[in-house]
Subunit: 367 residues, 2 copies
């Protein structure tokens, strides 16, 4: 194998696929990147068996072939080279030469026979979704996935495809985040995508223009995100997700409307005091025109006041402030509504500008 390409192109491609490479597997090929040169194209692949990422770029290929190189070392070397053309050349023993300006490296590589190719995801149908929308859907739900491995299904987010919409849902036992989008597709079904995958997808998408189209396909065991010469294939989580629509309360009598950033800042300040105690909860005291955010701990107390529009009865209710803060950070709306029924029922938070985001959080019992 022998090809030449600009250092910056190769470096960015390595960065992309490295997100799917294990860093300390005992199986050397899992710590490696597969490099394949064919025609006028080079393909890089990383695969940690849960997540696989592949990216292609145009190169001057003098000799077709393939090699697996240790990902961390290869990535560090390429990143540090001067920004000129890089020549990569492997011999039959997979010894690989890297030449760039006055730098010459040799690395012992491996055969691609050691490498697990990422699965093909074949499907007649898929959805097309704008990158900016998909990023938003992930950002507004991912943080509410569970970290608790004892219920593995909740460590991922549900993607529910219906003919006219996509819903993404995450639940961790204390809160639920639901983001919907109207999408025309001929795809129907439910899959649960691991949080790690969504995290890596979000990182890669962050560098992609919002208007770019992402193709999403799935089979029984895998989901594929494809865009811009990049393919991301992930295993799905097996099992039944919680029937979330039954959880969402229907009638909430108390509705408070507040400025999102005012409420966020006040809660962040109040949480500084709340964090000084073990239970770290705050109390919302909701009255006409104002909401007070209160916390009393051994070392002191806080009383924050926020202007609200209230309809319905007054209410005192306790929360872990982190759960409110997480949602306000991704509300993407100047104003937010908080809906309550009683002080032992869940609170629903929604942006005022559209109805596509719903966040539910359980209260805590007040001392």
């Amino acid at each position: 194998m022998k090809f030449t390409c600009p250092q910056s192109v190769l470096s960015e491609a390595i960065l992309t696929v490295s997100k799917a490479v294990s860093s300390k597997s005992t199986h050397p090929a899992l710590n490696g990147i597969l490099i394949e040169a064919n025609g006028s194209e080079v393909t890089l692949t990383g695969n940690d068996l849960t997540l696989g990422i592949e990216t292609k770029f145009v190169a001057e290929v003098e000799q077709e072939g393939s090699v697996v190189l240790p990902a961390r070392l290869f990535g560090e070397i390429i990143r540090k080279l001067v920004p000129l053309n890089v020549l990569i050349e492997s011999n039959d023993n997979y010894e690989t030469k890297i030449l760039c300006d006055r730098s010459e490296f040799k690395i012992m590589g491996m055969s691609d026979a050691e490498f697990s190719e990422i699965p093909e995801v074949d499907s007649n149908s898929g959805v097309q979704i704008e990158c900016g929308l998909l990023k938003g859907m992930i950002r507004q739900t991912l943080f509410a996935t569970s970290l608790d491995e004892s219920r593995p299904i909740l460590t991922g987010a549900l993607f529910e495809f219906e003919p006219d919409r996509l819903s993404v849902v995450a639940i961790d036992g204390y809160r639920l985040a639901l983001r919907q989008a109207m999408l025309h597709s001929d795809l129907s079904g439910k899959v649960v995508v691991p949080a790690k995958t969504l995290n890596e997808v979000a990182k890669i998408l962050s560098g992609v223009p919002d208007a770019e189209i992402v193709y999403v396909l799935f089979t029984d065991h895998h989901i594929l995100f494809e865009f811009n010469q990049i393919r991301i294939v992930s295993r799905l989580l097996e099992g039944e997700f919680i029937k979330y629509s039954q959880i969402l309360p229907k009638d909430n009598k108390t509705v408070a409307k507040a400025k999102t950033d005012e409420l966020l800042n006040s809660l962040e300040r109040a949480s500084l005091m709340a964090k000084e105690s073990k239970n770290s909860s705050i109390k919302l005291s909701i009255k006409p025109q104002r909401m007070n955010i209160l916390s009393n701990v051994e070392i002191g107390s806080v009383n924050e006041e926020v202007t609200i529009d209230l309809s319905g009865p007054e209410l005192d209710i306790g929360f872990n402030p982190k759960y409110l803060i997480d949602a306000l950070k991704v509300m993407e709306s100047e104003w937010v509504t908080l809906e309550f029924s009683t002080n032992v029922s869940p609170c629903i938070m929604k942006p005022v500008n559209h109805g596509f985001y719903t966040y539910l959080v359980l209260p805590v019992r007040m001392a």
Copy 2:
């Protein structure tokens, strides 16, 4: 105690003194900031008994007095307040109220009787040094202090005051960094300042304009840095520093001159390969007009080439590349000279633009 001042002023003052507050002492006052309001001025002090920092600012003082507040919590609260005026008010029980816009905090404080004031450093004489120069002298030496607590004196840098110059020296057993500056002063003597102190001084100075004057005084046990309403007092390290001038070799036959950034980049790349082995050394092969940087490890090899001007005989010599890289990063000169005698004698590195910086590094034996 009762005073009002802008949130930004108070927040910056807390940030400054917090660098001298322990974060987890079992003695609560050591985790605290002393706040004193007198006349039209407020003084904040942090003191972890090795390092003390004091800063003053103008405030609207309604009632004089003092209190000690937990540094981390107090700092986090003030930093998060809206950028308006803040009112701080303590009662006789040291319960302290913080009012700002619609935020109200109460914190249990302590009496200043619990707090160790920072020592007075009285001296008839001192040096005045421009902030930019002092920053440079610290930056060029601090990294060469030792981390090995078994020889505590080397965990600090020697400040040698002579009538016409200041020399700062750090030695860790493998290398020596010496920075000198011509300064008119009536101060003579040698003190060893802990690396931690210099690290914090450098951080605080990084926000101070280069032309600002810093006053430096010392007594038998303490050194004082004073500038811009800030006083930093540190304990000195006790003991005899190494007589560094005896270490510096006099006649080096081989002298290579290289572009600093070219050499730095090549060494950084070569060290990526060297790090893959336990001894992590590289070989410099010095010839007329070029220097090759070589490393051979199990997983591969590297050969970097750098253009040099050589005078004197050719030489092959081994180094830990980190020690060369550290010095090149702070050389502050477009060109650098490397002087060698034999391949078992130290190498001397110097900037080409002036003679005030000398860096010595020991070679390693080559395989």
